[in-house]
Amino acid sequence: MKIAVVLRQTVDLVEELELSEDETDIEREYLALKLSEWDEQALEEALLLAEETGGEVSVVALDEPDVEQTLYTALAKGAAHAVKLTGLPDELRWSGPRAAILAEQLRDQFDLVLTGVQTTEDLDGQISGLLAGRLGLPHVAAVVAAHADDDGRTVRVEQELAGGVIHELAVELPAVIGVQSARRPPRYVPISRIRAAISAGGIEAVPAPVVPAETINVRRLFTPRSSSQAEMLTGDADAVAERLAAILAEHEIVSRTGGAA
């Protein structure tokens, strides 16, 4: 089974986000990017599936800051191929134009395309669904396990709905899957193996297909003004704990003498 995993570099949300001058984007010049956490889950599920079927995993990403580290890590984890799409157009903030490029790159090349169920930058839709739409393939999102049937033509997926309810679906290949979480936590790969992958090279740089795609009209970004900002408790941990204990007593969540009310 030939499996593609689409990986995306996203903003690390521990960073302070500053708006660009025209307020339609964030300042990106000094921003650290990291692999989207859902894509990391998709890679793990793909590697598990490939191990079970004797298939191989190719990872595909757009050429964005720090993407080599992500692709080499994927190779060190067991991906067979890594493709970096270069020569990208300027306007790639949101998902629609990204999906247009990726769909042309992936078209007719793979039995199964996996990617994270979402990223933090999907203002105009999630990549997996947009890819499926463009490729005309069946799509299942929020998948928490995927197993290949013996005939190699179908995958059985578990889709997670609200409240932990699971739907089992059988999907004929080729198909696109948006992974919520892998069956197992993503594997650890020692830094020595990543260094070995870097030494071996192996990232294929491919010019990105040129595809016209419309994008949405974002008027501005802004920081939400909360209607109920938290009252911040200051002082060291002991002072905060004392105050919290008093608040819990005021709300009669604990009795005035501690313990559950």
Binding site: A132, R156, L169, N217, Q229, V240, A241
Partner: protein
Amino acid sequence: MSKDVFVLIEHHDGAVTEATHELLASARSLAAATGGRAVACLLGQDARPLAEGLAADAVLLEQDDALAAFVPEAYVAALAALIATHDPRLLLITNSTVGIDVAAPLAVRSGRPLIAYCEALALEGDTLVATSHVYGGRLRAEIELRGPAIVTVVGAGLAVARGDGEPLPAPAAAAAPAIELVPAPDLSGLRTRFIARREPDDGDVDITREDVLVSVGRGIDGAENIELAQELADALGGAVSGSRPVIDAGWLPKTRQVGKSGKRVKPRLYLACGISGAPEHLEGLAGPELLVAINTDPNAPIFDVADYGTTEDLFDVLPALVEALQTAGA
């Protein structure tokens, strides 16, 4: 393009979801302001009893064996047919698994833009302006919609307003909707097949019934640290719950997950420890009486919804709080 506002009716196990009912109410306010109708799109098999309970101006009911359970491919085909025939201004879908699964392929297929994670729509003349969450809820984006669009909606309901910010009036009491039976498109060639539905194991603590939840996020930093939260939960007579990364990492069982893909909880006290407050997590909070957030990141969105917060380290605050409670009880 018609002026109608369509809503996909999400239903499971014979019941329409609460979020869908809330979305229908917003759709009725919006449709009343734009001169259109709020139209419920109900897909299913023998779903007429559900149609009769919907507070909509009209219900378009597509019935087919292939629509008996949620099969994404079938839903996309059925909705694409409705859009092609009726050309609504908007199709609103809740940002559930169903919404995430269906909206993007449908947007491509119907040639309409998709706006995801929307929390509010404002009517500025003929233009609709959507406000959406982006970057894990840290920022909002305003997007102009001049033509037809598909919108997925986060959180508890969609706020609808005029351009000056004045909320649109609540919809009048709904009369019984006009139910129109619409032939489903040919669904015989689907490549996706529903096999089974599985309910979650219920052998664990039911976090929806707990008065106190000490809830841990990624900041708890390992299964070995759950004990700290458990000690505090024991002192408070509550239980430990967690956000999705904690469950995915296997540090807590699935039954303890709060959020969109977990459970919706309404405890008296929700103590969020090392939880950033991503929109998917906040969707699991049905208005706790008291929300306290402990997070070293002062910009974490959880502080926007918490009553009290601290940026002190949870590894210091949790034991200190256990001790403070014990001291008070000594």
